[in-house]
Symmetry: C2
Subunit: 437 residues, 2 copies
């Protein structure tokens, strides 16, 4: 299946012409808007993309190219009449698309889930499907939005000026080839916007709706909308597996760092390595064995915990996620954890000469590593029943390192981790038993 | 889909009547033959089973019951004429089966893979499929076997006395309802064995073949065949993920222990716990810190490594595998590993008072746990490219514990494990990188 992205507009409201580049090339968290659409399509499995250009199409072609370096195939179509209605842009793609295709606006930002789900829909021949939002968030500009009147899943009217409506058009469609022919007739009749086409189609009962539910989308028409889009994408980074500390303490900070990092050329894997090196520095500080070194070591440990979120965040925002990256991160985390525990053991040994620290430290070390091991196995086996509150993951461990460092009670930390992390593994065994007997 | 098991025969050749129980109740590695067929069918997803009984059907019903405790539904059909041809047994199941069903002989032992694959076949209406072995192993009794003549995937003749043949009938079929009607006509014409029915069917070109390939099967007709079946099932326990030590040293021993264990009531999970307790005893011995305790500790470590195979072996042979069991085993293995390394460190510290053992031991401990962690992640992510030679798994580690204990070089063991296990994790990172970039 192919997709068509309409990228012919000028973007006057956002001041694109003044800045000398068309709106599709405006950057959002490190990526031009249009590249974000392209990579979202790729994630949904659509690798054959037609881009309709108009205003400064040369700049878009130069920036994005034939798509090969992004693992997709992009062909360009010119719409010389881009100043007129955008149905003309759609029609310029005629003959380049198959029986059905996805249609996106280059200046709309979607949660990738919307595109993925829409791409799985199968419209009947002669029909189209429009993604609609039946409970638009307060940041959606209702004045400028295209309204939709929905009755029993079928659209009965489309338009900016619609008085009677119950949903908003999100700017993503599934179109069939018959609808392309139909669009041509509508345009010939003098109505040249996509809204005209969709409205006519809806009058005939041929426009179905796909409700996006709780997912987010926004039409990036203004500088303000661009900022909101940034915020939406950053908020979307919270993962269901995030532990309490991660959710409440680390993500809010890491999001801010990530917002800056996406504009650098640092790759997620480089970030994983930087985070690991900071772990080693923290461990080295602990091993010195005095309160000041404990204190700085503890603060660094919490910092590396925050930074540990950034690699994944940058990866997701810039579509650079990879299985290798996830793995590198996981393995470096284990070595980082082990280094910090060793640093603490060695530091306490220097500090107090208490030989028990070795034994207590080993229990903490084993507990920490085995609980990461059981977490992996546990997630793999019973994904549904997992609850993040009891994870006692790396975020909690490193946060406790900091707290106990500040209190100068690192020996207690080792005891604490030793008891808790092993209990967590035992609890997982117990839950697994109940869940699978 | 249902399955029919023919279990009406007497089993005179194997001396069943003399022992007072029908052949389907003869025990093979802890399970009656017929129960093995039932549980194999269950594993292939077939939970609705019709058992045709004749000779001492009362004993079979009493032993197996309605199948509820095995998670299947068993209905019994009596064939009062069990002394005559076995096609009569098949016909007694008429009206109890659907459009197509699997047909097994209770006294045949199959690799579960044969049943699983055969159950996925779809015969055309009016046709049947027979599982055939085109390169029978030397233990197959060719005199007693039913021969098959195969031409281009279609059977052209079936019979014990067939002169011209190129395969052997394995005693497993997929039958359609039309073939049941056909069988009735063949029996009415006076030919009352399954071989007669299949031969007639083949004459009409309506019997297709399913080649079992390299999988094993055997018709358990004699005491000798029973022993061979036992051997085949035990040899089938070797896993593709087995490391070198496991394959060459541990399995041959664990198989023998397992052959005994299946006749006890010890469950796989109990065996996992026993193996773990022996690990802890080994660790305690190491911690004492003299050569004799090292020696016994080392031998026990290797023994627990062998025993570690038995829980899984018993589970597979008695169809008691569970996700919880696999997990319990894995988690106990990690704690067992950690206990032994800690025991060695403590023992060496007692023995030599060399403070370096703590640091070296720490590296070994981390290496051993992280390499188990990476093994899980690695298997999960790239199952195909994994090669068992480089696993450096638990089997190798515990074998080395024994070797270095005997040599009284446990310090060297820690160095060795520390270097090797961490290198293995690094190698996995490298391979992952190449495989997924």
């Amino acid at each position: 299946m192919k997709a068509v992205i309409l990228a012919a507009g000028e973007g006057r409201r956002i001041g694109a012409p003044r800045k000398g580049r068309p709106k599709p090339l405006m950057r959002l968290l490190g990526l031009p808007l249009i590249l974000r659409s392209v990579l979202t399509l790729k994630e949904a499995g659509i690798k054959d993309i037609v881009v309709v250009v108009g205003y400064r199409g040369d700049l878009i072609k130069e920036r994005i190219g034939d798509g090969r370096r992004y693992g997709v195939r992009i062909t360009y179509v010119e719409n010389p009449n881009w100043k007129e209605g955008n149905a003309l842009s759609l029609l310029s793609a005629r003959g380049k698309v198959g029986k059905r295709f996805l249609l996106l606006m280059a200046d709309h930002v979607f949660s990738p889930e919307i595109i993925r789900r829409l791409s799985l829909r199968r419209p009947a021949p002669g029909e189209a499907i429009v993604a609609i939002d039946s409970s638009p968030a307060e940041y959606i500009d209702m004045e400028d939005a295209t309204k939709v009147l929905l009755k029993e899943g079928i659209v009965r009217g489309v338009g900016k000026e619609l008085k009677d409506y119950n949903a908003v058009d999100c700017g993503a469609f599934m179109i069939t080839e018959e609808v392309m022919e139909y669009a041509e007739k509508v345009v010939e009749a003098g109505k040249d916007s996509l809204n005209h086409v969709m409205n006519s189609l809806s009058m005939e009962g041929r426009l179905k709706a796909f409700d996006i539910g709780e997912e987010f989308w926004i039409d990036v028409d203004t500088e303000e909308a661009l900022k909101i889009a940034e915020k939406l994408l950053l908020n979307n980074l919270i993962k269901p597996t995030d532990g309490f500390i991660s959710r409440v303490l680390n993500r809010p900070v890491s999001k801010r760092i990530t917002r800056w990092l996406v504009n650098t050329s640092l790759t997620p894997n480089t970030l994983s390595i930087i985070s690991f090196v900071i772990c080693l520095i923290s461990a080295a500080l602990f091993s010195i064995g005095n309160y000041i070194s404990f204190l700085i070591g503890g603060l660094l440990a919490q910092f590396t915990s925050v930074l540990d979120g950034c690699d994944g965040e940058v990866a997701r925002l810039k579509f650079q996620s990879s299985r290798y990256g996830a793995w590198l991160d996981a393995v470096l985390d284990r070595y980082g954890d082990a280094a910090i525990v060793l640093g603490i053991i060695y530091g306490l040994w220097n500090y107090s000469a208490n030989p028990n620290v070795w034994l207590v430290g080993y229990v903490a070390l084993v507990g920490s590593l085995v609980s990461s091991y059981t977490a992996t196995k546990y997630d793999e086996l019973i994904r549904k029943t997992r609850d993040s509150t009891w994870r006692f993951g790396r975020d909690t461990r490193l946060f406790l390192v900091m707290v106990f460092s500040i209190l100068n009670e690192l020996y207690l930390f080792l005891v604490f981790i030793g008891v808790l992390s092993n209990l967590v593994s035992l609890r997982r065994l117990y839950i697994m038993r109940k869940a699978t007997v």
